[in-house]
Amino acid sequence: MGMDRREFIKSCSLVAVMGLLYGCRKSAVLGDIASQLSVPELKRFEDEVRLAMSQAKKTLDLVKVPTPCALKIPGASTLNRFGMAIDLDACDGCGKCILACNLENNVPLVPDEDAARGRFMHWVELRGNAPFMCAHCGNAPCERVCPTGAANHTPDGLSAMMYKRCTGSRFCGANCPVQARKFNFNDAQKLGLARQFNREVPLRDKGVMEKCSLCLHRLQNDRLAFKTKLSVAATPEDAEWRGRGVKTACAEACPHKAIVFGNWLDEKSPLVQQTKDRILYAPRELAALDPSVVFMRGSR
């Protein structure tokens, strides 16, 4: 098969363009490595939280919901369903929970142009002057549309994320009615925007989704410690792990104790005890999706 001159030149130019593209890629990578060494100071994280709070949405449309009960998904635990309740009567919107969460979960900073557009990575944000995060819906729409199964539900009622399995289709983000999911648009580690305050939580790569994990690592630590202790002394009533004594970083940081973490299925859990005679609310969009993180206000 002959190849005329034009076709030859054409293919040559194609190859040249490919090479050029590849070249751009390489040099850009080298440029980024230089900035990798710098680790942002704590103050920048504090400033960013303040900026995000100033841009926060002022309204939150809440409707009444019943107390969450056991999950209906296959393989769900009948003993544990972790969740939180945020006391709107106690909360004054100070935003300490946001910073605590960022430091606990190594949430990266965002570049200035993203910040100007209100695109922060914060797992907790303020809406209607109260902390707002993923509600860990029992019937989570994000998990249903995830093509790879990276967004999944643990038997204990956490809506979990497998970062290594995420292919970054952002379908979950599009399908979350309250936009609680954050996408790593930037390579925060290369841009010097990430810092590992907490070694137990990995830094996320560019191109994956993330969101509130209900401090999964703390729960996991407690579970494993419980299993280790089991051999020493096991009383029948405490033979099952219920996650007692665990608190999320935001709940720990709250000066007014407005965030209550616990196990919806455990009578002894502070969550069940403190929500017993309160009226529970959830965002209107989530009310039908069986949320685990709810708001409480007033008393019954």
Binding site: P141, V145, A288, L289
Partner: protein, 153 residues
């Protein structure tokens, strides 16, 4: 939507269906009738839904105009002269399609799929592939079936 409005929709579809595929009627006339009926069905559903704030339109009504159009198509196939069985099956298949995929879209938003309606339609579609000569009685039977599916399922 009240059952009366629902039944009325069926009647309107029947009326438009009788105008379609007349011998000698042009391609444009048939197409304009169908497209016009689609426009009408949209307005009909909008006015008949009784929820004038359509931000909260009943989700089940989202594909109602299309269902009206499909019913009309099915009813109109009885007046064809050529390849009746083929177009009959295709029209019913299309109706089934609208119901099935509309149902799946709604299922993901927490509304149950109308399996009975889909199964009934699929059953008729399969059954009507075995029809040989479609007599006047058979036409009537089919129409009754479709209208029954519309009104009761």
């Amino acid at each position: 939507m009240t059952p009366l409005v629902n039944a009325l929709a069926c009647l309107v579809a029947l009326g438009v269906a009788s105008l379609l595929w007349k011998p000698k009627s042009s391609f444009y006339r048939n197409a304009a009738l169908l497209a016009g009926f689609l426009l009408f069905a949209c307005l009909y559903t909008y006015l008949g839904s009784e929820t004038f704030d359509l931000k909260y339109l009943e989700p089940q009504l989202e594909h109602y105009p299309l269902r009206m159009l499909m019913l009309c198509l099915c009813l109109s196939t009885t007046s064809l002269t050529l390849y009746r069985r083929r177009y009959l099956v295709l029209a019913q298949g299309l109706w089934c399609w609208v119901e099935l995929f509309g149902g799946i879209a709604l299922y993901y938003r927490g509304i149950d799929v109308a399996w009975v309606r889909i199964a009934a339609l699929a059953g008729i579609t399969l059954g009507s592939t075995f029809l040989s000569r479609i007599s006047k009685e058979m036409e009537f039977c089919l129409m009754v079936f479709w209208i029954a599916i519309w009104v009761f399922f």
